[in-house]
């Protein structure tokens, strides 16, 4: 069942005023794979991400996740179904420590509410220490152990990226949407990130990636989707995409090559 479809976009459209940001996009992501979305700036990659995660509503089209229609659901409900995401610009909770950020990521895995928390019922304490333990383990997995009690706003940019990634993984999602995780990272950090993404995939988490770093995309992707001006330009294996004349034209210009 490794080729079972976990996420499917069916004819998604989105307009921003006169701009047709996403045009009739159809694609699917197979379980356990790394799929990348590439395209020039303004191709609609992030908009597509926002449509998938429910951050903005689509004008038309449907999103199916694990066989369930999610395009009318709120982002928090979609997250609770098992879809986690990161942002192009990191959105950590700046005044919270790294550990607290991760523990906030385990929100849907815990369930203490206002009354139980206010009374500090014994089971909430067990839940809390369990949550703390699991979060520590996750930080070790991401080799972030040394930053555990650091306030997020004091972290270096590369570390913030990793923490955001770890926070998304804390949901124990079925699919992880990464929006340009390598943006602003140096070559070493990018390499480390590639390995990390593969390790996350090995945990059984499907990955959908938007990225500009071509070498990284070609290295780790199982499949690539190319967007241009909001529409799907090509879809296929990395080596097919590399040879695709349309893709080359879009990336290198109109001239013959």
């Amino acid at each position: 069942m490794s080729d079972a479809v976990i996420l499917e976009a069916q004819g998604l459209n989105k307009h921003f005023g006169g701009l047709h940001a996403v045009r009739d996009v159809w694609f699917s992501v197979q379980k356990g794979k790394i799929k990348s979305i590439i395209g020039p700036n303004g191709a609609g990659k992030t908009t597509l991400f926002n449509l998938l995660s429910g951050a903005i509503p689509a004008d038309s089209g449907r999103v199916m996740f694990k066989g369930e229609l999610i395009s009318s659901k709120k982002p928090y409900a979609i997250a609770a179904l098992g879809m986690a995401r990161t942002y192009q610009t990191t959105r950590l909770f700046e005044h919270m420590t790294v550990l607290e950020n991760i523990m906030a990521g385990r929100h849907i895995k815990t369930k203490a509410g206002f009354i139980a928390s206010a009374l500090r019922l014994p089971w909430t304490l067990r839940e809390e220490s369990d949550c703390k333990k699991k979060s520590r383990e996750l930080l070790t997995f991401f080799s972030l152990g040394e930053f555990i009690d650091e306030t997020a706003q004091n972290l270096a940019f590369g570390i913030k990226r990793k923490v955001e990634c770890a926070r998304a993984c804390a949901l124990e999602p079925d699919i992880l949407l990464l929006d340009e995780p390598a943006a602003g990272l140096n070559i070493y950090e990018t390499k480390e990130l590639s390995q990390l993404i593969c390790r996350i995939r090995d945990l059984g988490i499907t990955i959908l990636l938007v990225e500009h770093d071509m070498s990284m995309v070609m290295d780790i992707s199982d499949e690539i989707l190319v967007l241009n001006e909001g529409a799907v330009l090509a879809e296929g294996l990395p080596r097919e995409i590399q040879k695709n004349p349309d893709v080359i034209r879009v990336y290198l210009g109109e001239d013959e090559c």
């Binding site: 982002p75 942002y87 950590l92 005044h95 906030a104 206010a118 949550c131």
Partner: protein, 413 residues
């Protein structure tokens, strides 16, 4: 669990007893009144601290929730309900419509309900006093009246506050920043206007002759001279319970969710946190705290006036939270106790409100993260620790006969 978490709470209890002993021993018992009132106002401020400091949602209408608690409690315990108790539902509707000055619609409702159910209207018997909710008393003219017992009124008042907070919160919390501030400000003004215009709430006169609230045994909340010390402790303990509850919430999954929403609402949503639900939850909780303060303070003071509903009161609560450090409960408590006490003693004179506005401006300009913060304390601790360490080292070396000429060399060692 972490015992150290409860250290500030223990300090609070210690301070409670210490202050009482000092005041009693020095014979300055008149201070108790202002301290007790400060305790109650601090409860409002703590609720606002959870809402503003942790969840990052401003409210300029908390004097409104305080007033709902206080005015409902005062009205229910002083108004004569005997006619309602002995009347049928039909008359209840008549009474209600008289209060609000409308006519006739009440006559239709019982009949229609009766018609739908297929029973004559007269079958709706009197409300009666099923739960012993009513107690006899006297009004200002010495006439016998039948009002709600304070304990029954407490539930009605708090439920009213919760209900109104839900109704207001649902639409208003969709707004952000300035818009939320303006909407809550509007709510505060509405409550103030309703109080001013409703006969039931005493219009501009307010409500007086609020009876004592008998708790258990000899304990009762009232403003009498004899019960001053007891009331100091009652208020202190109520505040203590509110503090513990708030502290637990802050250090829990809920507290984390609130801070996450404060940090970045979209990111919180992407983690499965239902922001609206938590924002509403903390809004209702803070409204409940405000109402609790109102309910008890009205029994302590024995009366309530329209000044409590004014928007300036809301601004005062906000400025105390800002000055205390937004997301530091204990800092806010310290700030609230200090400022309320000084204000209630009348040290600011006629410039009371100006003073609080000034505090807000100065805090926002120079100490945007508040006056009391752990970080500041940590700096002081670090500095003193280094200083003492250096002095100990110096003394040791001096004993060995090594004397350093200047500080620099000392550092190098």
């Amino acid at each position: 669990m972490n015992i150290r978490q409860y250290l500030p709470a223990a300090v609070f209890l210690g301070a409670l007893v210490a202050v009482q002993l000092v005041i009693s021993l020095t014979g300055a018992a008149f201070y108790f009144t202002q301290i007790t009132m400060s305790f109650y106002y601090t409860i409002v401020v703590i609720g606002l601290c959870l809402l503003m400091g942790y969840a990052g949602q401003i409210s300029l209408g908390h004097a409104g929730f305080f007033s709902i608690g206080a005015y409902m409690q005062a009205m229910l315990t002083t108004h004569d309900f005997s006619s309602i108790i002995h009347s049928s539902w039909d008359e209840v509707f008549k009474n209600v419509s008289q209060i609000f000055g409308t006519v006739e619609w009440y006559e239709l409702i019982p009949e229609k309900i009766g018609a739908i159910l297929g029973i004559p209207v007269k079958l709706f018997v009197g409300l009666g006093d099923i739960f012993g909710m009513f107690v006899p008393g006297t009004d200002g003219f010495g006439n016998g009246i039948l009002s709600y017992a304070p304990s029954a009124a407490l539930f009605i008042s708090l439920l009213t506050a919760i209900g109104i907070a839900c109704l207001i919160g649902l639409p208003v919390l969709r707004l952000k920043g300035h818009y939320l501030a303006m909407a809550t400000l509007g709510f505060g003004i509405i409550i103030s206007t309703i109080v001013f215009g409703t006969k039931l709430f005493g219009e501009a006169d307010g409500i007086s002759r609020v009876p004592a609230f008998h708790l258990v045994g000899p304990l009762s909340i009232n403003g009498g001279m004899a019960d001053r010390t007891v009331n100091y402790y009652i208020a202190g303990i109520i505040l203590f319970i509110v503090l513990i509850v708030s502290m637990h919430i802050v250090a829990s999954r809920v507290g984390r969710a609130l801070r996450a929403i404060h940090g970045n609402e979209q990111a919180a949503g992407s983690l499965g946190i239902n922001a609206m639900r938590y924002k509403l939850g903390v809004f209702v909780l803070s409204a409940l705290f405000a109402a609790i303060a109102g309910v008890f303070l009205v029994h302590y003071n024995g009366s309530i006036g329209t000044s409590e509903t004014s928007v300036l009161k809301s601004v005062r609560y906000v400025s105390i939270v800002a000055a205390g450090g937004m997301d530091s409960i204990w800092g806010v408590v310290a700030m609230s106790m200090g400022l309320n006490f000084v204000s209630l003693r009348g040290y600011f004179g006629s410039f009371d409100e100006i003073f609080f506005a000034l505090i807000l401006v100065v805090t926002m300009l120079f100490l945007p993260r508040g006056l009391f913060r752990k970080e500041y304390l940590e700096v002081v601790i670090k500095k003193t620790r280094r200083l003492t360490r250096r002095m100990v080292l110096k003394r040791k070396l001096e004993k060995k006969g090594i004397v350093f000429a200047n500080k620099k060399k000392d550092d190098e060692k």
